[in-house]
């Protein structure tokens, strides 16, 4: 029984090769432990985040005393305890930093993602394609998880299948006609920014007079829009300035937001023809009729209590006072950043959202539930991450043994399928010929209004947010090679607020977009249109059309996994993560049912203005039913080989 030579070589390459782990959170901690114990000797790990107490239920390389410290650094130190001879390098940094260029990635034989957001995944995908290094991609959410392998030219890349873009809500829903708690929560977060944070023109909270639904005649909409711009009153003054002028008086604020603005909405009577009309609140009335809150026996968490309306009035007042004093302390021109783990910020959103929910006849929610929605929290446990990290290493060993063709996508389900399997492997798909990232000369067609789209919007909304670029350079294919956007800071800043049409861009124009860091060139075909939906800035042509939303089956809802919310091209701040949960791609709980769940089409690719940094819906791999059945057929055949004939 001779030793197979391949395995001795594998053992040697383990100790000599360099691997990169991107992320030191839930999956990252388990993965580091596995790599070290398996015998990997040269490991580099990068994470921009610091440790939070809510990480400690699963990120076991961290202890209470480490809260606030760099995840990558502490993970390295803890892992070294298991194997002091391992060579681990830790980077407390964002993987999207240009320092980590193609040359950096080429150092590694294998890259393993342990990320929680799409922007970083897209970026690492491109870097690994550029460097031609195999990438193991993974994600978890609750009991569900997934691992897959990406190898240039051989498999699909991370962006080959269009993934549903994060769920956003139209401005008028947020500002005028909320119908679900999430609309009120989004509104409350916008309000936070308008009052205490960075003011954003796309995060208006006041009634939207230009709401097309409000007009009895189409002409009225335009008339109202121009009229509101001309008003010399409150609407022209920024919300923050107005609030400041009142000294952040909570009662004045309350009456404007929850009484006056609601009364204004009531005048837009067409909105309430088929909807239940909102009921304004009056501070004095509520105060007068307030009864002492009955203490419910503390069987639940304090945060899981739902207060009465007056309770939320008081919470609103307290949080406004705390936040305005924080703002004052920070001095002139200061801004606060919303953070779910900052108690007054969370209190503020809880209170404001609930008051609005009450106004619009929705049942109020506990702070616990609001935090889940506002903070895009994805529940997480240690064991799912442990299983996925184990699978990552197994796939990694196959790659290092030169057996990439045996690699699979593996789904970890919550319930066993008909074959009693919790782990379901699927054959990897080849690259998509039309992939706008890994095809040989990627091209897309984007529809927008050249007279209304600014250069800045093109850069930020389309190229960075939608197409995942970090530092785009844009040239117009006009025979002159006019440079529209330069990634060098300051060079083309003057162009930012000009419209694309000012540069001669019109229907049929072509833009060559390069991201040199990602070694990525994309040709953008311009399709001019004047007919986009209200609040829609652009549309990517050629992706699955948006279907009217059908009521999802329980199965689909149960399967729909939310991804991390860190979708902006900007990495989250290293001081506090907006969400530390782990990302995941959608998982079907039963391969037999894959056919039905696969009909959940990816969300429309249009970019809307009102981007709520909300959890994205998971991706569906529409090809999966075929491959799953293939692999289960294969599994079946192998089962046949295992029959033991006994006498």
């Amino acid at each position: 029984m001779a030793i197979s030579h391949g395995y001795i070589e594998l053992a040697d390459s383990l100790s000599s090769c360099k691997v990169l782990v991107v992320g030191a959170g839930g999956i990252g901690c388990e993965l580091l432990k596995n790599l070290v114990l398996t015998g990997f000797k040269n490991i580099e790990v990068i994470d921009l985040d610091t440790i939070d107490v809510s990480n400690l239920n699963r990120q076991f390389l961290f202890q209470k005393k480490h809260v606030g410290k760099s995840k990558a650094q502490v993970a390295k130190e803890s892992a070294l305890q298991f194997c002091p001879s391992a060579n681990i390098t830790a980077y407390h940094d964002s993987i999207m930093n240009p320092e980590y260029n193609v040359e950096f990635f080429r150092k590694f034989m294998l890259v393993m993602n342990a990320l929680d957001n799409r922007a970083a995944r897209n970026h690492v995908n491109r870097m690994c394609l550029a460097a031609d290094i195999p990438l193991i991609e993974s994600g978890t959410a609750g009991y569900l998880g997934q691992v897959t392998v990406i190898k240039k030219g051989m498999t699909e890349c991370y962006e080959c299948q269009p993934k549903p873009t994060q769920k956003t809500f139209p401005g008028c829903t947020i500002r005028n006609t909320p119908s679900e708690p999430i609309h009120c929560i989004v509104w409350a977060k916008y309000l936070f920014n308008q009052l205490f944070g960075e003011e954003d023109a796309d995060q208006e909270v006041s009634p939207d007079t230009a709401d097309p639904e409000a007009a009895w005649k189409p002409e009225d909409t335009a008339a109202r829009a121009t009229a509101s711009e001309k008003d010399g009153d409150i609407k022209r003054v920024s919300t923050k300035d107005w609030a400041r002028s009142t000294g952040f008086d909570a009662v004045k604020l309350f009456n404007k937001l929850f009484k006056d603005d609601i009364m204004y909405l009531l005048t837009m009577d067409k909105l309430w023809k088929k909807r239940k009309a909102p009921t304004p609140l009056d501070w004095q009335q509520l105060e007068d009729s307030a009864r002492p809150q009955e203490e419910t026996p503390g069987s639940g968490l304090k945060d899981q209590q739902v207060l009465g309306v007056w309770g939320y009035c008081q919470l609103f007042q307290h949080s406004v006072e705390t936040l305005s004093s924080h703002l004052q302390e920070k001095g002139e021109g200061a801004e606060l950043v919303w953070d779910k783990d900052d108690p007054p910020a969370m209190d503020f959103v809880t209170a404001a959202a609930n008051l609005r929910m009450h106004i619009f006849s929705m049942n109020m929610k506990s702070r616990f539930d609001v935090k889940s929605m506002a903070g895009n929290i994805i529940p997480a446990i240690a064991t799912t991450n442990a299983v996925i990290a184990g699978l990552i290493v197994l796939e990694g060993l196959k790659i290092l043994a030169g057996e990439v063709e045996t690699c699979r996508t593996i789904f970890l389900n919550k319930c066993p399928n008909l074959r009693k399997k919790l782990l379901v492997p699927c054959v990897l798909d080849p690259p998509s010929a039309n992939c706008y990232v890994c095809a040989s000369k990627p091209e897309v067609t984007v529809k927008f209004n050249v007279h209304k789209t600014t250069v800045l919007a093109l850069q930020d909304r389309i190229l960075k947010e939608r197409f995942g670029m970090v530092a785009p350079d844009v040239q117009i294919e006009d025979g002159k090679g006019t440079i529209l956007i330069s990634s060098e800071e300051g060079e083309t800043e003057a162009n930012n607020h000009k419209f694309l049409s000012d540069f001669g861009i019109r229907n049929g124009s072509r833009l060559q977009v390069d991201d040199f860091l990602q070694d990525y060139t994309l040709l953008v075909n311009v399709l001019h249109t004047e007919e986009l939906e209200h609040d829609v800035e652009f549309e990517v042509v050629g992706e699955a059309p948006d279907k009217a939303p059908t009521p999802p089956s329980n199965q689909e809802e149960a399967n729909s996994i939310t991804n991390g919310n860190k979708d902006s091209a900007q990495p989250s701040t290293s001081s506090k993560a907006e969400d530390d949960s782990d990302d995941v791609m959608i998982v079907d709980s039963d391969e037999e049912e894959a056919a039905s769940s696969a009909t959940a089409k990816p969300a429309p690719s249009s970019g809307t203005k009102r981007k709520h940094s909300d959890a994205e819906t998971g991706e569906t791999s529409t090809k999966r039913p075929r491959t799953t059945q293939q692999s289960s057929a294969a599994a079946d055949n192998d089962d046949d080989d295992d029959i033991i004939a006994l006498d």
């Binding site: 398996t38 194997c83 119908s179 239940k276 446990i381 329980n554 080989d641």
Partner: protein, 307 residues
């Protein structure tokens, strides 16, 4: 035992709420309280045992007893991450204690250096759940019989290279709840807008459905007559690993099937003769090629690379 959580403090502290936040959001506060009130026994602190210990401690059980009579060998430190490299010669449970405790100071972790076989019956009865890792078949059958009658949950498991198994016996009448999403039926009133007419699934509204499951004992699971027609028909769907549970008494049985390459690893492992080298075996799962370790102990590790 698990049903009587009332005897424990029902109030979750702020510290616990903060630390367990992400898991409470998954399995609910009630489940967390039950975990918080449970005492678990873990016998066997090899690689698999260490993983189980980590997961239970992180989950926030009340107490975990680490039971292992083995001494720390050079291999132990490569197999698991709780034993410091300097602890050679020490008892494996005791050597694992410090790092295990540090995973979560809110759990009472104990180390016991005794042999699990030497423990009297009433030792096991003080726990809500017992995990037996890498234990002999006879011991597992004995403990399983003893515990399952008293509603003490039993889990057994072991790993062999790329193979492994887990067996659980949650009792003849195991009660549990399943969370089902509520579908909000559209209302008949047309006061609300067109939106309200659609059936929505409110992701925050769920109902708990009560269910009962019945588990067989380990003894019953091992005593299947594989020569019967019914068993033969079910053989196709029986995972290979099931046969790993059978000890040396079944060597004859195993030898008969060694001609099927997928079983050769089992034969070699269960035979008392030391292995001469590595074996390559085809495995239907995900196309990987597992290897058996070149060691006499079927739960040991010959090479760190294939732990």
């Amino acid at each position: 035992m698990i049903d009587t959580i009332e005897k424990e403090d029902p109030v979750i502290s702020e510290e616990e709420a903060a630390q367990y936040d992400r898991q409470i959001r998954l399995w609910g506060l009630d489940a967390q309280k039950r975990l918080r009130g449970s005492r678990v026994l873990l016998a066997g602190l090899g690689g698999l045992g260490a993983e189980v210990a980590k997961n239970l401690i992180l989950a926030g059980v009340k107490g975990l007893t680490l039971l292992d009579h083995e001494q720390v060998s050079e291999e132990s430190c490569r197999a698991q991450f709780l034993v410091p490299v300097t602890a050679q010669g020490q008892n494996r449970a005791k050597a694992s204690l410090e790092r295990a405790q540090n995973l979560n100071p809110m759990v009472e972790v104990h180390a016991d250096p005794d042999r699990v076989e030497d423990k009297p019956d009433d030792f096991f009865l003080q726990f809500d759940a017992v995990c037996l890792i890498g234990c002999s078949r006879d011991l597992m059958v004995r403990v399983d019989q003893l515990c399952s009658q008293r509603n003490i949950k039993v889990f057994c498991g072991d790993v062999y290279g790329y193979y492994g198994y887990m067996f659980c016996n949650l009792g003849q009448e195991h009660n549990y709840v399943e969370e089902k999403l509520k579908v909000v039926k559209p209302t008949r009133d047309s006061n609300d807008g067109p939106e309200a007419k659609k059936a929505k699934v409110d992701l925050n509204e769920t109902t708990m459905v009560k269910k009962t499951a019945s588990f067989c004992t380990l003894k019953e699971a091992l005593e299947v007559d594989w020569t019967s027609e019914k068993a033969k028909a079910g053989l196709k769907r029986t995972p290979v690993d099931y046969f790993l549970l059978h000890g040396n008494e079944k060597c004859q049985f195993i030898k008969q099937v060694k001609k099927y390459k997928c079983f050769s690893v089992i034969y070699v492992i269960l035979d008392s003769k030391p292995l001469a080298g590595f074996f390559c075996v085809e495995n239907s799962f995900a196309g990987i090629r597992p290897m058996s370790p070149p060691s006499t102990k079927f739960h040991g590790h010959g090479h760190a690379a294939f732990a």
